[in-house]
């Protein structure tokens, strides 16, 4: 029973450089082309991904509870958190924009947390779910990660632009910072996860599929 699937480079002791993609024998330790360290799989990647995800989650909770920005109009201070901001936009009549903000700052982070936790779980406990489907999920998390920053940039723009003293001014809230940190951490978590692990147990799951097929034939 080997650790890697039979078509993989790792099976033959070849490590693909994470930095430049060059294939070398893993005994080299460092890539000869770009001098990056060589590994068959990213070392401790599940542990690191989980640690980053849990930290990101800890920053994500205050990001949703505390105000992301405060508006002061003629002495009245009104602060809003992420969800309240979306509701305010919706009630102002700009539903499409409310949808954009809602997707970027609520749906995207939550989806990313769920997918990455689930990918770690599926690798650790070797669940027999189609590797190709999980690879698609991984690519989605990698692609959507950066788009969560929309809300943070909106705060930055409004804070810079709306400074009319006591008439109207906008100040950033603590949630802007914790949300940004949370997004950055989930992005690093997605990079730390090694998608090649999804394919390493391919043989065993293939066998399961053929077994299932045989059973259905027998029936």
């Amino acid at each position: 029973m080997t650790q890697y699937s039979s078509d993989s480079a790792a099976e033959q002791g070849l490590a693909s450089c994470q930095s430049c993609g060059k294939l070398s024998t893993v005994s080299n330790k460092f890539c000869r082309r770009c001098r990056a360290p060589l590994h068959l799989r990213k070392p401790y990647n599940i542990q690191k991904t989980l640690a980053l995800l849990i930290t990101a989650l800890m920053f994500y909770i205050p990001a949703n509870l505390y105000p992301i920005m405060a508006t002061e109009q003629l002495g009245m201070i009104e602060s809003a958190n992420i969800v309240e901001g979306v509701i305010a936009l919706w009630e102002m009549g700009s539903q499409p924009i409310a949808m954009v903000v809602f997707i970027a700052s609520v749906i995207v982070p939550v989806t990313k947390f769920i997918i990455l936790f689930w990918l770690c779980y599926s690798v650790r406990f070797n669940t027999h779910i189609d590797a190709a489907e999980r690879a698609v999920l991984y690519r989605i998390t990698e692609f959507i990660g950066r788009w969560s920053m929309v809300d943070v940039f909106v705060v930055a723009i409004l804070v810079a632009l709306i400074q009319l003293g006591s008439l109207l001014n906008v100040r950033p809230g603590i949630a802007a910072l914790t949300f940004a940190i949370s997004v950055v951490l989930t992005m690093i978590a997605a990079m730390t996860f090694d998608p090649r692990l999804l394919w390493d147990k391919l043989e065993s799951s293939d066998q399961q599929v053929t077994n299932k097929l045989n059973i259905t034939k027998d029936n």
Binding site: D7, S8, G93
Partner: protein, 202 residues
């Protein structure tokens, strides 16, 4: 050994793809895009990167947006949009925003230009592999296009409560974003390292 590579997403062993312009190589097991070579890639990369750098510099020089409410007007530059937070308690956030929307895109475009120019003029140079490693490390952290969406969102947020004006820099940054996205479609890890190897051999 050098005639083989492995898919970065599933470690599937395959022969080294040498592409003609217009071709794209996908992993036959997981479908990950191994490499894509667009027609006229190097020329387009150079021209769009250069245009992007110039536009980004221009967009830092002029007013970006203005905001008028009951006779009071406030005008900001792109520089202020990124760094105004720095005067408050959120210095870390200000630095992050500045890096994501101005610094990293500028550095990436500059390094791509430097890499391609020195590749064409001097062949292989000692700093080429460092440049490439930096480019591909910074790529996910550059969020110019995300910032542009944020600008549109804030515009629509404000249009109902005040008069909003857009400045010269706004147009420059829009055009810069278009150039930047075009560059992103042309940048290809496999091809960049392959070009460096070719220069090394000759």
């Amino acid at each position: 050994m050098s005639t083989k590579i492995a898919c970065q997403h599933c470690d599937y062993l395959m022969s080294f793809p040498v592409l003609n312009p217009g071709q794209c190589a996908l992993c036959s097991r997981c479908g990950h895009k191994i490499s894509r070579l667009k027609v006229n890639a190097i020329n387009n990369l150079m021209s769009y990167s250069l245009t992007g750098v110039i536009l980004l510099i221009l967009s830092l020089l002029f007013p970006f947006m203005s905001f008028t409410l009951s006779g009071n007007m406030m005008e900001i530059t792109l520089w202020q949009a990124a760094t105004e937070l720095y005067s408050g308690p959120y210095k870390l956030l200000a630095l992050g925003v500045f890096a994501f929307i101005v610094l990293f895109p500028a550095v990436i475009l500059g390094f791509i230009l430097l890499f391609l120019v020195s590749l064409n003029l001097f062949g292989h140079t000692f700093y080429n592999s460092t440049l490439l490693r930096l480019i591909f490390t910074l790529l996910p952290w550059s969020m110019a296009e995300v910032f542009f969406v944020a600008v549109l969102v804030s515009l629509i947020k404000l249009v109902t409560i005040a008069q909003i004006g857009i400045g010269l820099s706004f147009g420059a940054y829009l055009l810069f974003c278009l150039c930047y996205v075009k560059v992103l479609t042309l940048v290809d890890k496999h091809q960049f390292w392959y070009w460096m190897d070719l220069a090394k051999k000759s």
